[in-house]
Symmetry: C2
Subunit: 351 residues, 2 copies
């Protein structure tokens, strides 16, 4: 039974997300704007992963990005757009995860104030990270239920500039630089027709990557990867409308535990993305262990979903087409912000 | 009070270690021999580490080496030397750690049999790794006390070729390729006078690095790093003789929990190394956390000792000379073979 739509996220201090905002997307400007501010992350290759997956596999290591995830790209771009427009208001984020840290970093580096609203239940290490960048973290009295209201009130009362974690044309334009870098790195390796696996949460990363690859590597195919429990994107593509899950999904892939895609993200995904596949929590755990033990990389569960999709079906059933051999696959590792305890408990004892 | 010397490790199926074996060291041959067999590991750089350490810091990431540590270099070189001499005997290692895995990998790739003697108390994951490479792991009835005897008997009965984890000229020559790579990577970055921190266990890695840098980057300074509890090398340099600890040291840096330096290693260290500094277990834990949270790298405790030495004394007191500013420091991260549980329990909860 289809669920009733939930109220839209507020865009305090900004115009509401709408079709019109797509026109604000400017990939080339974002690329120039954030160059030197964010890291050109390596495209790693593991022979062991090739053998295991039956394809040539590349890892786009956004876990090595500044502040530990691709979110730094969108955050810097959005912050810089404001400065170009003479807007020196403090930045405001609603995020218990990577977007908050990224925005705190961007603000600090650009000499802006930043405020991050995080539920009181947020991981203390994430709160500490936000504060470590010099931002104000507001947690007291913040719950899953009232956090949007708290955020809207802060924007209003303090005159802050709210930056949405994914449903924002400047954020999407920033994330698109992952796609441009990928295109260059793949071309220099002679790869023109890759299958690019991208994690899907709210949809900001995959929207940007789709747009950039369409332009820079048009024969690339893109596939989204979601957690089984949080397959709002998959359902949306199947039903041709933006589906909202009835409740926040329970999954180890906390960065993709969204109830629905962003509105602008959905527009782009509907137009450009063919398919989203899902992975289970145990498959994500296996991927984290693989990346740990063979690649010595700390990748957070959400960031390992793409490798999970690959490892779960080495023959290519779920991914389609891999079995024809000679495939070149890119797994975007979206972030690496997690605690040793979290990975240890996810991976469990191995022998 | 000086401790009585312990009986020398056996070199079954080989000549005893002695001064004469230094003449078998051949760095250039090792370099050519293992090229393409081992990975040229990255020299990573972290701006965060620079700021924290008050120096420009480079990380030589041997945790990304094949089989997870620098040991692959010496193992491949020693195995290939045998093949060049027409010796196709199976290889034999006494190792509960990285040398066993490295030798198992080299043997498998070169079409040789391999046997690794591991105490029954060895970590099941390390036993599984050795078997995963197709080697025979012998654990039943093997104890800390009888393992050398078991190894000697196997070499004799089965006609196997024993390869010592560090006290072997071909192993040392293989490890020296870390130094050659470093010299090239540093020169291409304009660094001619680095301070190079190298972990010290039995001494094979630092011996090789000393020899290679003397040749390839003569203005480099090398500093050894040992665990506080296992400071046999430091004592040896101070006393001018090869000191043996009375019992196996208890330290999280299990790869450096040796009771004394190898005999051949000591010859080279005595001649070429100025100083060894020590780090405590909590300092190693802090370094593992730093590498985890800022660099997203899985580094085993032994491999993080060099970063521990750097972080413990940002002013440079322990390391000497850093406070003069402008210093360029290299930390060799020797390996990354450890379990999530091990790192989680070492690092503890962080917030």
């Amino acid at each position: 039974m289809p669920q009733p739509p939930l109220p839209a996220l507020p865009y305090p201090g900004s115009v509401p997300a709408s079709a019109s905002r797509a026109s604000e997307i400017d990939l080339e400007a974002a690329r120039r704007r954030i160059e030197g501010r964010v890291r050109r992350t390596p495209l790693a290759h593991s022979r062991l992963l090739d053998a295991r997956a039956g394809a040539r596999v590349w890892l786009k290591a956004e876990n090595l990005q500044r502040a530990g995830s691709f979110k730094a790209r969108g955050a810097f771009n959005a912050a810089l757009v404001g400065l170009e427009q003479g807007d020196r208001r403090g930045l405001l984020a609603l995020s218990s995860g990577n977007h908050g840290q990224a925005l705190a970093l961007a603000a600090a580096e650009l000499g802006l104030a930043a405020t991050v609203v995080m539920p009181a239940s947020a991981s203390p290490v994430k709160v500490a990270a936000v504060r470590g960048y010099g931002a104000e973290a507001i947690t007291e009295g913040v719950t899953q239920e009232n956090r949007e209201q708290v955020t809207a009130r802060l924007a209003e009362e303090r005159g802050l500039r709210f930056i949405h974690p994914h449903d924002d044309p400047h954020v999407i334009s920033g994330q698109a630089t992952v796609g441009f870098e990928l295109a260059e790195q793949l071309e220099s390796r002679g790869v023109a027709e890759p299958l690019v696996l991208v994690p899907v949460g709210g949809g900001g990363l995959i929207s940007g990557v789709l747009l950039a690859l369409l332009r820079a590597l048009p024969r690339a195919r893109v596939l989204g990867v979601e957690p089984e429990a949080g397959n709002d994107g998959q359902l949306s593509l199947q039903q041709g409308r933006r589906v909202s899950l009835p409740a926040p999904p329970q999954t180890v892939a906390d960065g993709a535990a969204t109830m629905r895609l962003g509105e602008l993200c959905w527009e782009l995904i509907r137009e450009h993305l063919e398919r989203i596949v899902t992975v289970s929590d145990p498959e994500v755990a296996e991927a984290c262990w693989w990346l740990w033990s063979r690649c010595k990389l700390v990748v957070e569960p959400t960031g390992a979903m793409t490798v999970a999709a690959l490892l779960a079906e080495p023959g290519g059933g779920r991914l389609g087409g891999l079995e024809r051999g000679g495939a070149e696959v890119v797994c975007v590792l979206s972030g690496g912000n997690c605690l040793p305890q979290q990975l240890a408990s996810l991976i469990g004892p191995r022998a």
